[in-house]
Subunit: 202 residues, 2 copies
Amino acid sequence: MPQGQPTVVPDDGLTTRQRRNRPLVMVHTGVGKGKSTAAFGMALRAWNQGWPIGVFQFVKSAKWKVGEENALKALGATGEGGTVAWHKMGEGWSWIQRDPKDGEQSNEDKAREGWEQVKRDLAAETYRFYVLDEFAYPLHWGWVDTAEVIEVLRNRPGTQHVVVTGRNAPQELLDFADLVTDMSKVKHPMDAGQKGQRGIEW
Amino acid sequence: MPQGQPTVVPDDGLTTRQRRNRPLVMVHTGVGKGKSTAAFGMALRAWNQGWPIGVFQFVKSAKWKVGEENALKALGATGEGGTVAWHKMGEGWSWIQRDPKDGEQSNEDKAREGWEQVKRDLAAETYRFYVLDEFAYPLHWGWVDTAEVIEVLRNRPGTQHVVVTGRNAPQELLDFADLVTDMSKVKHPMDAGQKGQRGIEW
């Protein structure tokens, strides 16, 4: 919870207001639960501000996070807050041509295509709040170049906030990000022999 | 993300299905961001299951988390998923009589009244998913008795999931909970002199 006083006041030539409204890059990493969930929770605030929201799911299975997807889409459809666009990796990427060759595309190619679309949207300022869900994985695996991602984020125009989630986020990205939270697992029901359940895990 | 296999299979006489659908007590603690946000993100999944959701905010200022409140209430109002009831501590507790003496009530009394209502709702199975937001504080401060809370949670009827958030959750509660995530701060914009901003912090 924001308690008011920053610990230092930087000599960056910005007014408090300019500094306050600076667009942020945020990373949720670590092995615990809540990384994506907290990102989607943040999207609730963005929605309430009327900001256009773009979610890019860099995950293999489209069945994951269907709860958040349905809920955020329903919110976007109310017309009371921001819009919500939801993109899923691979066949779910809405800008990919639907032709038979799609079936041959590797996950690596799909992740790269997703990132190319994020780049286009950042350049066009399509959204004001981006969730790059599980994007830390393709970065960690080297499918997408972390240095390029940082460069694109550093030079993005306007006021576009970006949240990246996933385990093993590269150190360079953590160094660059404005906010980093590490979710550590203290205890999980699976340790006690319980499988994931509807409404809780998805 | 659930990867399928639990690490042990307990000898508890339950079937996999019974164990899978066991109601959970979850705690989000630690000094990092995302504790409440992840709890509200989980509420999106609960909403998608059509579960009645009860949020109890144990915070002093009603201005906090207005983004999540507006968004979850709007979701509840769509009629497409679960309902959402939102209760704020003190004057926000919807069951407290509105009389002049309210102004004299201490935060300690208010927190206790909130817990009494949670107890009534658990006994009546009013909701299926509870967010006891920042409830760790009154427990930590001893305003509400942790042993009693654990006893009530242990004996709650039906299938009611409960998420407790807040720093300094008592160790007894962590020991009792099914799932505990510690959100640690790695880096926060306030460290770089940036104040909280609209759409991000609230």
